[in-house]
């Protein structure tokens, strides 16, 4: 499974920090790969659609996430203030993996 996650917007929007995170589960250890794949399932990622822009909200971050799993590929843009907890948990995990990985 390959995942790409790009952060967009936010109060501290700094174009220089908008580098996307790329994760390939084949390069993770078994534990991390298993956790990540189960989080993608728990978030029903392939059934998710783009978030609606929240009314009245501002400075929120959006995340553009693409998951490729075999034949399947799906991209959604998720707004943090309206995303469900399972998607937020997935994003947090991706960001942690991205921060730990080679930069």
């Amino acid at each position: 499974m390959r995942i790409q996650c790009k952060t967009l917007g936010g109060f501290a929007y700094v174009p220089g920090l908008q580098r996307p995170i790329h994760i390939d589960t084949e390069r993770l250890n078994t534990l991390q790969a298993g956790e990540l794949e189960s989080m993608v399932r728990a978030a029903h990622f392939f059934d998710q659609s783009d978030s609606v822009r929240p009314a009245g909200a501002a400075d929120y971050r959006s995340y553009r996430i693409t998951v490729e799993d075999g034949e399947k590929s799906h991209t959604v843009q998720v707004v943090e203030s309206t995303a469900d907890h399972s998607l937020l948990a997935l994003i947090a995990y991706l960001r942690r993996l991205g921060a730990d990985g080679p930069s």
């Binding site: 109060f11 929240p54 009314a55 909200a57 501002a58 921060a99």
Partner: protein
Amino acid sequence: MDHTRHRRSIFCILPPHVLEAIVKNGSNAQRRMAEQMLRSAAAMRTARAAVDARLKALGPSAPTGAPHKQRVIFTTSHTENIPGVRTREEGQGPTGDAAVDEAYNGLGATFDLYWDIWKRDSVDAAGMELDATVHYGMNYDNAYWNGERMIFGDGDGRLFNRFTIAVDVIGHELTHGVTGHTANLDYNGQSGALNESVSDVFGSLVKQYAASPRQSAAQADWLIGAGLLMPGVKGEALRSMKAPGTAYDDPVLGKDPQPAHMKDYVTTTSDDGGVHINSGIPNNAFARLAIALGGYSWEKAGQIWYKTLTDTRLAPSSQFMDFARLTALNAFQLYGAVGKQAVIDAWRQVGISVN
């Protein structure tokens, strides 16, 4: 019974001197009823006096039009589970947790500016409770307004410090709430950049007003997020209203991308069409105007901007030119031809011609 009740309701609106005349001159039944009404009226007056005394104790303007400063700070303890646990409420003392206490004080400073200067009672002008969540997420480099509450991250500790560290950031987020309840500027393109700029303007005013001693436009640093960048990062803040594009220039962050002039307007699909980038243009117009007018920024420039933000003619889809025109009209109403000319000059210096 119905008949009696009906008569009693008439007695209720009779003044005491009429009731006293009935006691003296009426039939036995009328007298008994009037005596009862007088007793309950006296009891009512006693109760009212007690309520009045309590309201008076609350403050000089308490009985009508009193401000409703009601802050509640929550903490999510580095999760994303909003709202989190109530940690400090209105009237409670410091907790010793810097983010909690800075949020509490910053909400107070923002409330005070809007109340003291414009008699605006909270974000919605109707005493809305001010809620903030701190310690949001892990290494979270952001602060945002979700339409109902403010959310602050602690920063990653490498590039960014905690987002409550600068009072103007707190004023900025709360002002998004004010904008949501007034002009409701669409959050993309130029209207979005205006939305962002208005938040920077009033966020900066909160900082200038809360400073001790208060800062004039000439004394203000006009920085947004001073102290937010960690030591070692080459920069003094996230944005500069006085000199957009100069807040930071760092190997990791890159260079501050804000334009100060329309000729450098950035067309992009990122960041909701560059709302945090092109806000530099109206930001600079405001800082120039405030400095040109002199004195405290909230005295004149702030009055013009607040009148414009709350002006029903300011449509959600307003572009820079629409906003600029309205500021000129409102400046004329408030300060005559001299005020209007100062506004026109400020916009001209950022490349926007208003006539």
